[in-house]
């Protein structure tokens, strides 16, 4: 269905140059996945062979230990544990981030106060200071507080790089919203809570969803801060992948884990793609 739509769009509306351009972009995005996919099924793949000389399935019976996808999908690879951790931390971070950023964005968008621009600059500081510097300094403090190696510790550090993004997005949404509708509701006798629940939030929702999605994706991709705070005890998909490929080689199981790491992001994008395109960017920002 989708493919047919894509094809017809390709045939009808685009010029020859545009078609080639589109295919090139698709090639650049999908290209790197092809060797990764082949590697994940390989047993021995040496240069200059175009395809593996020995495939994993040929060796599967002979090997004492699980190889390639058998390893990736076995509990020994800890992929499942890492996925659960990544999703759990991402969700909690997103919720806390929203709770902090919604009121903050409202104030930043609507009120004027002294030092506001300095404050806004201050808020984006975490994006400028290198993660490693923040990470190692916080680790020293967190060890004293007993937060190192705990979920709480990781969630707190994940808030550092996500809050600036979320605040910026929500401030833009609030600015686009104006106060007219809320005032009108109040004139008609709505309480503050009712205004919040029935007017402000529904109008903000598309922006909130976009911000939440973005926060979740950022959180699921943070390596260095998670690595410092998790101390190897709490593993997420990025730390698992790093420990696997840090040896400098990409064997079959490393290739398999790399593919798995991309899955949560892709699923999330597929689910929300439609919503974001039509709702958030249509109403939230376009207004």
């Amino acid at each position: 269905m989708a493919r047919r739509k894509f094809k017809s769009a390709l045939n009808s509306r685009l010029s020859g140059f545009q078609k080639i351009y589109l295919l090139l972009i698709a090639g650049f995005i999908l290209g790197p996945f092809i060797p990764l996919l082949i590697q994940s099924f390989a047993f021995r793949w040496a240069w200059p062979d175009l395809l593996p000389g020995t495939w994993w399935l040929e060796q599967r019976e002979k090997s004492l230990l699980p190889l390639a996808w058998d390893y990736v999908l076995s509990p020994y690879s800890r992929v499942w544990e890492a996925t659960l951790n990544t999703v759990f931390i991402g969700l909690v971070v997103t919720v806390i981030c929203l709770a902090i950023c919604l009121p903050a964005a409202r104030v930043l968008a609507r009120e004027k106060f002294r030092g506001k621009s300095a404050f806004e600059f201050f808020l984006s500081m975490p994006l400028i200071v290198p993660e490693a510097a923040i990470g190692i300094a916080l680790l020293m403090i967190f060890i004293r507080l007993g937060l190192a190696g705990s979920y709480t510790g990781i969630i707190i550090v994940h808030l550092i790089p996500t809050i600036p993004y979320m605040i910026r997005m929500l401030t833009a949404v609030y600015q686009g919203l104006g106060t007219d509708f809320e005032e009108q509701a109040m004139i008609l006798g709505a309480s503050r809570w009712q205004v919040m629940r029935m007017v402000t939030l529904p109008m903000l929702l598309p922006g909130v969803v976009a911000g939440a999605l973005f926060t979740f994706l950022v959180s699921t991709n943070i390596f260095l801060l998670t690595f410092f705070m998790g101390q190897g005890k709490i593993i997420t998909l990025p730390t698992l992948l790093f420990s696997k490929i840090a040896g400098g080689t990409l064997d079959a199981s490393a290739a398999g884990i790399t593919l798995v790491v991309t899955v949560p992001g892709i699923i999330l994008l597929l689910i929300t793609e439609r919503f974001i395109k039509e709702e958030a960017f249509g109403k939230g920002f376009g207004n």
């Binding site: 190889l67 020994y76 060890i143 004293r144 507080l145 937060l147 005890k233 040896g247 400098g248 064997d251």
Partner: protein, 449 residues
């Protein structure tokens, strides 16, 4: 937010005061065990009440990970201890964690690392910082499988780790030897070099077909050490390199290592990529394995007695791979160990784990699963136990055990390794024009700071 942070601080404060109550008890246990007053039953009972052991180890190998989860965890569960295998990307991460926690005032019973798989510089760091639990290694039931008699020369690797006295604060876990492998599909066995001079001749005929891992990676350091031993101007090989830098002195050190480093400089244009003036040194053994598999180089050297058999079993080595004797008389041997840090949260469980790892049963299954050679000494075992180990071995390909034993050399003192590493980086990597004696004395001064 403020309230939240305050709540966290209060909670952390409460937690740390609880931990302090345990602290005294853990220290009393340590005193009793090291003083020989605690029986192994006491240790086992305390280990069961502690419940968990956090073992930090390099987690980059699938077979080791599988063995830990499948075999070690199951066997330790039978002893009432839950294994928490923490996979780390570099052993130094665990060392840093121990030292950071000690710096934050966390003592025995309060840290997060119970045991670390390590050797060489990482052990030396813990020892220097006084961050070790103590002399436990010869006080466990399975310590009998290891030679502790200092008068027996075979005990060297059990008592010294890269020349640093272990003080029995770490127990041997696995013994390795630096072995080179060649792809016999590309090189005739008759053409394989056995000395550094022959290696150079081979490279002159086949430029670019060899390289070694780049120092400061220990696998690279070891190749440099072997070259230095072989070119020792006094002809005494590894012998003078067993002393620390303080005993040897910078001047003498420079004299001893000059011929070896000059040799390495002379072969640089013949190494992989050297013909275009840009010799390529792989960053670690994984990268070297890749070059070897892809036929970029004909030979590859690393620690791995059974590396060829293991590499063929998991597809990381080319089909024609075989080990060979190189360099003659200077195939460096060392051991790697399990150490217990001074702030281990579960010291008794760590001891139970270390004792299990030293058992013949664990050594046999480790060898079978991962190809890691035993760390226990065969002459301390019964005949049946030796047979079990032999049967578990993936086997030597291309060399015999007798060849390997005949060409053994000990590792270099850890303090000298630092100097050699710094000198290599300046003399070869950065192409310093300074005299080697100047470079060495500068390296010694920098390291003393």
């Amino acid at each position: 937010m403020n309230k939240f942070m305050m709540g966290l601080t209060v909670t952390a404060g409460l937690l740390s005061s609880v931990a302090h109550a345990e602290d005294a008890e853990a220290n009393a246990f340590r005193e009793a065990f090291l003083g020989g007053e605690a029986s192994w039953e006491d240790v086992s009972a305390r280990a069961e009440s502690e419940g968990t052991v956090n073992l930090y180890y390099w987690g980059g190998s699938d077979p080791i990970n599988i063995w830990m989860d499948q075999v070690v965890a199951t066997d330790l569960a039978k002893l009432g201890v839950t294994l928490n295998p923490v996979r780390i990307t570099g052993t130094k991460d665990a060392i840093d964690l121990v030292l950071a926690e000690m710096g934050s005032g966390k003592g025995l019973g309060e840290g997060s690392v119970d045991a670390i798989w390590l050797n060489g510089e990482n052990f030396a760091t813990l020892k220097r910082q006084d961050a070790l639990f103590g002399a436990f290694a010869d006080k466990m039931p399975n310590s009998d499988f290891i030679e502790w008699n200092a008068e027996d020369p075979r005990s060297l690797l059990n008592l010294r780790d890269f020349g640093v006295e272990t003080g029995n604060a770490e127990v041997p876990w696995s013994g390795e030897q630096y072995v080179c492998a060649a792809n016999t599909a590309r090189v005739d066995r008759a053409d394989l070099p056995s000395t550094f001079a022959e290696l150079k001749a081979y490279l002159e005929a086949n430029p670019g077909k060899f390289t070694y891992v780049k120092p400061p990676h220990y696998i690279g350091n070891t190749f440099v050490q072997a070259a230095i031993y072989a070119h020792n101007p006094d002809g005494t090989g590894a012998e003078p390199f067993q002393q620390s830098i303080d005993d040897l002195g910078a001047e003498e050190m420079a004299r001893l290592i000059t011929p070896g480093l000059e040799y390495l400089k002379s072969i640089e244009p013949l190494l992989l990529g050297g013909q275009s003036g840009n010799a390529r040194y792989p960053e670690d053994n994984g990268a070297l394995d890749g070059m070897f598999l892809n036929g970029e180089v004909d030979m590859a050297c690393k620690f791995g007695l059974y590396a060829v058999a293991t590499g063929l079993n998991n597809g990381t080595y080319p089909e024609g791979a075989e080990a060979f004797v190189f360099p003659e008389g200077n195939m460096i041997k060392n051991k790697n160990y399990l150490a217990i840090p001074a702030n281990a949260p579960n010291p008794a469980a760590a001891l139970v784990m270390a004792n299990y790892m030293t058992s013949v049963e664990a050594q046999v299954s480790k060898l079978k699963y991962t190809g890691m050679p035993p760390g226990v000494d065969p002459w301390k075992l019964s005949e049946a136990e030796v047979t079990a180990l032999t049967e578990a071995s993936p086997g030597l390909i291309g060399v015999s055990q007798a060849d390997l034993d005949a060409n053994t050399a000990p590792d270099t003192n850890a303090t000298l390794v630092d100097v050699i590493e710094a000198t290599w980086l300046e003399y070869i990597e950065r192409d310093s024009a300074d005299d080697l004696s100047v470079i060495v004395s500068r390296a010694v001064d920098n390291l003393a700071k």
